[in-house]
């Protein structure tokens, strides 16, 4: 990934070991995964928007999620447009942050402190996302 001061595509990845399963069973699992991925993306989008909703009186500290000012960054978070693939049972969804500073804020750069908002959100939501996958595959 190369960032040049533009929006950023962030991936939602979950994997399940399906070695040894029959093709018939795999087809059923793929169908369930296809159904659950959009819901996972919606969960992540809502979670990221929540993370970006902090209203502070001063600037966010180094390493903290950015504070909400106008809400442009928060509003620019949306689910990826069919940007996910299914290879065996490795689910790859994505969310897009269209704001020009979306990538720079998440990862930083020379003279710009990283203000991660996506990776902490994924860590917070990981148990929920795993549960959604388990329920869908049951």
């Amino acid at each position: 990934m190369t960032l040049r001061g533009q929006g950023v595509l962030l991936q939602v990845r979950r994997s399940t070991d399906v070695d040894g399963l029959s093709e018939e069973l795999l087809d059923g699992l793929r169908a369930a995964a296809t159904e659950v991925m959009p819901r996972m993306q919606e969960t992540v989008v809502a979670g990221v928007r929540e993370t970006l909703g902090r209203v502070l009186t001063g600037p966010a500290g180094a390493g903290e999620p950015p504070r909400k000012v106008e809400g442009d960054l928060q509003r620019s978070v949306e689910a990826g447009v069919v940007a996910w693939t299914l290879d065996r049972l490795r689910l790859r969804g994505s969310i897009m942050v269209m704001h020009p500073s979306g990538g720079r804020l998440e990862f930083g750069g020379l003279g710009i402190h990283p203000h991660p908002y996506y990776r902490p959100t994924i860590a917070r939501l990981a148990p929920d996302l795993d549960r959604m996958v388990e329920d869908a595959l049951r």
Partner: protein, 139 residues
Amino acid sequence: MNWDRTWDAVATLLEADADITAVVGSAIYLDGERPYAVPSMTATLVVDTEGEVWAPADWQLDVYARTMTAVTRVERAIRRILDGPAPIIEVDGVGVLTRFLAGRTTRGPETDQWYHRSLDFRLEPVRALYHPAADPEEE
């Protein structure tokens, strides 16, 4: 809370590597501790999951240098230390499993002035390390 101790352990390993110090010297520090400089390596704690049993912590390491060759030299050294065949470091007698998660390149408007790689690692305590020499049965 483990992140501060794990960073100290990682920093000690990085500072002891000849390839890394040949490029960035002693400029290895937590993001925000010093003004930005080129060359340098900074670290940012991205995720600190205190609630989980193993309390994994995700770190972002940023490498800045004047040439991409120098940046990749440092990245190769970091990957050798934190993503090798036996990627376990020791923090106060506890083994910490280290895993490479992702990497990216950021370029600024002054693209000829500096080059950058940003690397994510997960540091995950696994168990107390066994030291045969410290085993009373062996002494």
